[in-house]
Symmetry: C3
Subunit: 137 residues, 3 copies
């Protein structure tokens, strides 16, 4: 049995951003030497998500509008009494979940035809991490 | 250590559909020979979800109304500029997540008393896949 | 390869409740003896969630208001024809997902700086379980 851990760092120039990370995760799988197993990709912060979607810019625009409709930025969240102003980013993280678990088959990510891995940043402009944890043989 | 991979195919006669798949997943666990481990069940498309809920038809009606309220079908999504008309299905997938990870204990799925596994199809009428990846001993 | 299974029981005095469970999960990791691996923490009911968030009471108030806005309590859900009155709890579970998978690195949970594990109860006042399943070496 093998395990492998890798941390991906992101520091996006804008507060909200999308980073396409399929290749970085695929590279971690190659580095691990695991041929059959599972690959967890999980945000280590509470204001960003790792998710699987289509790499289509129109859809990404729809997703941002939808996120803002369901988990809007507002000044008056109670979390902001701590001095923060990112409660909406926490709610957006809850809505889109923080992580995905991917199968590894024949030494590669076993993704569907249009499945790509994205890091959705809801409160960036500072260094943040994603953990990739691989387990298998 | 053992690993096992199985693909389940679905081609639902209606665009939106619910398929109860607990038995198919349970069968994959038996085929794997794994007695203790983890079982990932994950949609390989971006417009369907694998989720755990109660097998109660009234609740399923509530779920569909809720999905339509939070991620409604509309003609004017930006994704539709590509010729697609299924942006709502992508948002419904985001809302209900694409996958679940289940414990395997004593050679069987370790589910709670009312937990059943469902494939929720948001854009069917074509062949689509779910991957079952099992890892354990 | 090692596996370890533990069930955590909760019987909250109020219908809705938050229980901070990071230490209980960490204890299970220690008991397992696993140094590198994965730890699934998953609700075994359909009306509660295990999630990762900040341990900040204002944020938790924001989360409850948000949950009630997106998945409100209402008397007229179709699920209630069965005699139940908890359809909103099922929808809240769908919204916040039932589970998380956590990396284990160097014998401990590999969490980000503010990540804490919570059990969100949407329909309590009765005994309910969470399964912790650990796999690794």
């Amino acid at each position: 049995m093998k395990t492998y851990t890798k941390y991906l760092w992101f520091n996006t120039p804008t507060r909200r951003a999308v980073v396409h990370i399929t290749e970085q995760v695929r590279e971690a799988v190659r580095e691990s030497g695991v041929k059959e197993g599972l690959c967890l990709v999980s945000a280590m912060h509470l204001t960003a998500s790792v998710l699987i979607q289509d790499n289509e810019s129109g859809l990404h625009e729809d997703m941002w509008q939808w996120l803002e409709r369901l988990a809007p930025y507002r000044p008056d969240y109670k979390h902001h009494r701590t001095g923060e102003d990112n409660a909406d980013a926490h709610l957006k993280n809850l809505l889109t979940h923080l992580q995905v678990v991917l199968p590894i088959t024949n030494g590669d990510l076993d993704l569907g035809p249009w499945q790509e891995i994205f890091y959705f940043e809801y409160d960036g402009q500072r260094p943040k991490r994603v953990v990739v944890k691989i387990i298998g043989e």
